[in-house]
């Protein structure tokens, strides 16, 4: 029994040693090039990113499809070589660049906010005689972008690319930028974007939390874009303002003679109910076409709120004044008459004032 157990144990030890040997062999077969430590830690990687082409913006999906050029520059003294006449640098492209990169240290930098796989990616690598390395990476992909519709249609958004260092924390590899990186990021003045005006490019540092309270270097390269609001006015705001007239018309349609209302409340109530369905339909249409507008507080949702409020107020007036004459019963028909005549001018003024205020707040 003992013998059998010892044999079993020896076999396991033998298998374990083979596994460890194999693991060791695979682990150390191609050692990853070490960090260039000649300049000390952290290794500073100068970063710039240019939105070369912006194909489309999908606000509902909160994404944009674009081609970006990521430029990374760092110094690796181990790659320095004697300067030859004629060539300023060694140049590698595509497969040659990837092959060269496999043999040298390259920062593990990725575009963290891409959605899905890039549709296109290519590399260009330059190594200068003094060991300066410049890696350009062109990527066509969909990028996750946060849209804040609160100030719609007078909003400004930021198309952003999130550049993050993976693996090494910011004490080992740090992304940085100077004015020339910003200039590179802002270049491409011929870029155009349908329904948006392009603004300034900025770069923001914001470390990313890692395991065990480590921080990884991260840069946000942001391109400001401003909505051309005239394009959004016609399909959304004209119906919204027009629907505000429905409850006002329902109140205005009545007539008062010697303190007595002349139109049946039922007919006016029908107008309001019709208006309610019209606003619900408009709300449904807008939410279907622009789901992002339905998700958050913004000018459109506030105007819808005003529409519902105006319809509710009109219904209350019709029931209280036209149907049950509550004011007449309490204070007399002349008070009710004057109240109605005041409502006829005050209600449009307040509704219009509120609607304009909502637009102005978005513009502020």
């Amino acid at each position: 029994m003992m013998k059998k157990s010892a044999l079993h144990s020896r076999r396991w030890r033998w298998l374990l040693s083979i596994f460890l040997a194999l693991h060791g062999a695979t682990s150390f077969a191609e050692p990853a090039p070490a960090l260039p430590l000649a300049g000390g830690l952290p290794v500073v990687v100068r970063t710039g990113l240019r939105f070369d082409q912006i194909d489309s913006i999908d606000e509902n999906e909160r994404s944009c499809t674009a081609t970006v050029d990521l430029r990374l520059r760092w110094r690796d003294a181990r790659l320095a070589y004697p300067k030859e006449d004629g060539a300023l640098f060694q140049n590698f492209k595509d497969a040659a660049a990837e092959a060269r990169m496999a043999t040298m240290w390259v920062p593990r930098v990725e575009l963290a906010n891409t959605i899905g796989s890039p549709t296109f990616r290519t590399f260009s690598l330059r190594i200068y005689p003094d060991g300066q390395v410049e890696l350009m990476q062109r990527t066509s992909s969909k990028f996750a972008t946060s849209f804040d519709p609160q100030r719609f249609p007078f909003d400004q958004q930021k198309l952003a690319a999130e550049v993050v260092v993976r693996g090494d924390d910011q004490d080992r590899v740090a992304l940085d930028y100077h004015q020339d990186d910003l200039d590179f990021s802002a270049s491409g003045s011929d870029r155009k974007l349908d329904r948006w005006a392009l603004g300034l490019t900025n770069i923001r540092r914001e470390p990313l939390s890692g395991l065990y309270d480590t921080l990884h270097s991260r840069l946000w390269i942001e391109l400001q874009i401003r909505r051309q609001f005239t394009m959004a006015m016609a399909p959304i705001f004209i119906p919204l303002f027009a629907s505000l007239l429905i409850p006002l018309m329902a109140v205005y349609m009545n007539r008062v003679e010697d303190g007595e209302f002349q139109i049946d409340a039922f007919e006016l109530c029908n107008i309001v109910i019709g208006g309610l369905f019209a606003v619900i339909a408009l709300n449904f249409t807008v939410n279907s076409a622009y789901p992002m507008l339905g998700d958050a507080d913004n000018t459109v949702t506030r105007l819808f709120g005003l529409n519902y409020l105006a319809l509710g107020a009109a219904l209350a007036i019709i029931i209280a004044l036209f149907r049950f004459n509550l004011v007449q019963r309490a204070l007399g028909k002349y008070v009710q008459e004057q109240l109605y005549l005041s409502i006829v001018w005050a209600a449009p003024l307040l509704v219009l004032g509120t609607a304009i205020a909502l637009l102005l707040v978005a513009m502020a």
């Binding site: 300049g39 000390g40 400004q156 100077h178 004015q179 910003l182 200039d183 802002a186 603004g199 300034l200 490019t201 900025n202 923001r204 540092r205 400001q224 401003r226 303190g259 007449q328 019963r329 204070l331 007399g332 028909k333 002349y334 008070v335 009710q336 008459e337 004057q338 109240l339 005549l341 005041s342 409502i343 005050a346 003024l349 307040l350 004032g353 509120t354 205020a357 102005l360 707040v361 513009m363 502020a364």
Partner: protein, 376 residues
């Protein structure tokens, strides 16, 4: 007087309401506006403090490095022996590390007569007289007291710390300066405080002294009046925030400007050399759009509330004056007129809905109408 009570009384009351509400709204808005201004002023003060303390810290760093190097025995000995080659070999690698990692831009040894002995940042250039454009070096070698400040040197402006050097026997051997590069300081301020900055240096000293400057600095595009933009953290933005007019009429109060839909607060800080002469300007800007948007929104909401108040009070005035007083008076007057014309068939309907005073008048009418009927 042709004004009727029907029109005059409501108009007068509504005018009073409008004046009172608009005044209150205006005062309320001014209060909020002052609050916003105070917040922005605090921001300006903070920006000013950050800049000044950062420049002071840079001066201290320059001075600390200079003191440290100047007191190394080997360095003192080699400098005293005027052994340029060995001094370069001793300090060169140290300077390269300082330059690449810690923002040290220049390091130079000077002889007691303010002649350059060794520039670690440009070793081939030496033995030139510095008395004309480096008064700090002259002063340190004259009174042998360390000094610090902004100076335009051969390779451009930098924040210098200059210390006297003594040989191993204690005799004055010359001086050493360390110049901190402005660029990392400004870039660091942007990274930490989200400030945008631009450094302008007066063109005249730049052309006269900074002969080692790269050509792209002294260009038309960089010129703002008598100043040249030397460095900026975001020139596309800053060139609109620091126009020629701004740098000519410098006020330390700060100003705001709206660019591409965003309001920025900008502040210009004059930079002076140790003698008090203005050498340049540091322009700093910050996004003020949050406070401005809050102020704008407040104005809109307060105006809307004022409109609601005016309309509500106007409706109340009209309904009370016309509904409770004028319309019943008009109705009773018509009844009396009919009665005077002999028509007694029109009673006052629902007199209980009239106010007490009107009800008495209506009662009088009914008495008259009834007594006339009895007479007949």
């Amino acid at each position: 007087m042709n004004v009727t009570f029907r029109r005059g009384a409501p108009t007068a009351l509504i005018c009073i309401v409008v004046v009172v509400v608009v005044t209150l709204a205006f005062l309320s808005n001014r209060l909020f506006h002052n609050l916003t201004n105070a917040v922005e002023q605090n921001q300006f003060d903070l920006m000013r403090t950050i800049l000044r303390s950062s420049l002071r810290a840079a001066e201290d760093r320059a001075m600390a490095r200079a003191e440290m190097v100047a007191n190394l025995p080997t360095v003192r000995d080699l400098f005293a022996k005027r052994d340029r080659e060995r001094l370069l070999a001793e300090c060169g690698p140290m300077f390269e590390i300082q330059k690449s990692k810690y923002g040290v831009d220049q390091m130079q040894f000077h002889l007691p007569n303010a002649v350059s002995f060794l520039r670690l940042h440009a070793p081939p250039q030496h033995s030139d007289d510095l008395t004309k454009f480096r008064p700090l070096v002259v002063a340190v070698n004259t009174d042998r007291v360390a000094r610090k400040g902004l100076v335009v040197a051969r390779t451009g402006p930098a924040i210098f710390g200059v210390v006297p050097m003594v040989d191993l026997a204690g005799g004055h051997a010359g001086s050493l300066d360390v110049g901190m590069d402005f660029n990392p300081i400004l870039d660091g301020l942007k990274a930490t405080y989200q400030l945008e900055l631009a450094l302008f240096i007066a063109e005249e000293p730049l052309r006269r002294f900074a002969t080692g400057l790269p050509g792209e600095v002294l260009t038309e595009e960089n010129r703002r009046g008598k100043f040249i933009k030397f460095h900026s953290t975001h020139w596309t933005l800053m060139k609109d925030l620091a126009t020629e007019a701004d740098v000519i009429n410098v006020t330390e109060e700060g100003y705001t400007r709206k660019l591409r839909g965003i309001t920025y607060g900008a502040l210009i800080l004059p930079l002076r050399d140790p003698n008090g002469e203005q050498l340049g300007l540091l322009v700093v800007a910050k996004d003020f759009s949050a406070s401005r948007a809050a102020s704008g929104r407040s104005l809109v909401w307060q105006s809307l509330l004022a409109l609601f108040a005016i309309v509500t009070l106007a409706v109340a005035v009209i309904v009370v004056i016309r509904g409770l007083l004028l319309r019943p008076v008009q109705m009773i007057t018509e009844r009396f007129r009919s009665l005077a014309e002999g028509d007694r068939t029109k009673p006052i309907e629902q007199p209980e809905t009239l106010c007490q005073e009107m009800r008495e008048l209506a009662g009088t009418y009914e008495q008259l109408r009834g007594s006339d009927e009895e007479k007949e």
